[in-house]
């Protein structure tokens, strides 16, 4: 695999998981469960289990966990206490992880 191919894979993972792939629809609520939409840690944990069977290194898990507090992931608003977790972004990151490329 070369740099261009890896970049294609990463972008494919993000595009598919965030439902920007024309003609494809991913129902992450169905995959990750209804509670994941308000809990980024749960969304990550479920994504790792669903897509990688939980087979992920501690370093990758730690890197992903750090991202879970990012406003782009949490999508919290000051006037809305309910989090609207960007599950697509989380799933895209997991699908682009080195562990998924090896599968």
């Amino acid at each position: 695999m070369n740099a261009g191919a890896l970049l294609n894979r990463l972008n494919f993972a993000l595009t598919l998981a965030t439902n920007h792939m024309p003609g494809a629809k991913v129902d992450l609520t169905e995959l990750l469960g209804p509670d994941a939409g308000a809990n980024p840690e749960l969304a990550l944990s479920d994504s790792l289990n669903d897509f990688l069977g939980g087979d992920v290194t501690a370093q990758t898990r730690a890197t992903l966990e750090k991202q879970m507090s990012d406003p782009q992931i949490v999508q919290a608003r000051l006037d809305d206490p309910v989090k609207h977790v960007n599950e697509g972004l989380i799933a895209g990151l997991v699908l682009g992880a080195p562990e998924f490329q090896r599968r």
Binding site: N2, L10, T57, A97
Partner: protein
Amino acid sequence: MKISRRVFLKGGGVAMIGMSAMPAFLQRAIADTLAPNKKKLVVLFQRGAMDGLNVVVPFAEPNYYRMRPTIAIPQPKSGGAEAAIDLDGFFGLHPSLQPFEQLFHSGQLAIVQAVGSPDPSRSHFDAQDFMESGTPGVRSTDDGWLNRSLQAMPEEKESAFRAVAFGPYLPLTLRGKASAIAIPDLKQFKVFGNPKVTEGGFEAMYAQTVDQALHGVGQETFEAVDSLKKLDLDNYQPENGAEYPKSRFGRSLQEIAELLKADLGMEVAFLDSGGWDNHVNEGGVQGQLANLLRDLSQGIAAFHQDLGDRMEDVVFVSMSEFGRTAHENGNRGTDHGHANCMFVMGGGVKGGKVYTKWPGLSDGQLHQDRDLAVTTDYRSVLGEILIKHLGTRDLSTVFPGFDNDPTKFLNILKG
């Protein structure tokens, strides 16, 4: 700690010794090691089999007009923009290649006619694979001649952009053990989404992975993405008044020029163009082929103009999998043939000449009684470029099984 010869030399291990006191072979070795090869190669593959006989027209060959009653390009003496552009009294350019006229006569552009692969296949897929692998007739080769040439010149710390294909996929020409990347669009060569989350997240994951292959390709990818961020791609202005055609081909050439000027370590660039398979209504002075040639010549001339003096370090070479039948067919087109022509342009090129051992178009001179015969193997042209321009020392792995004898080169390049 293991220190390689190159590291030792680069690290100044010989600095205490005066260069003048050194044996000549050692001086050469140091010079070879320290001086980065600034020479670049741009390779164009014209997919679909261009009709070389209507591109570089043998207007002094009477059989040409007999064989092509409706699509032949008129002789230059008929004058104007509706006739071939005389090159040497025998060959002329299709009038849509007018931008090549000045390049040819100024010695920047050379043409090779009756050149191609010796394999007789008329299958586009087989012939492209054979030409790109550099092993005509051998189906089992899974890497390309250009990649093998890079393998023959390994670098200590090579740029992620050392070998770039401008398109969505890595072509067979560049496939192999040496690192090469495919870029469909320079502006899209980035990780989608918010960079802090997506690019930052992926970069951190690939930086710490224990999988050495993924670690390496990850590092290469994010370095390349970072390098491109520093270029102001949206505001690129071609120099010297160059105007690229607004086609995919034109855009690719402009992007190659951008990367070359950015000095990101690109040594070889590959691009391709399609649409050359004109079985029906190929056209003559006007038509499908003429339109493709206009795009081709305007793009290449713009590239040459844009690079200006930098062109001294660049060689551009084109090829197509095979030529087309000498006779036109019943649909005012041409079918799959054999020999074709190649364009070679740039610094060090001894242009202004059509290099050929012209086989003729008479009965008995045609390949399988229907096509222009191949009298120059395309590997001979590429081999000369690799040795004289890129500095490849050994062609035996690049074109295995081919007689790579430099004394048999056409001497298209100086040196």
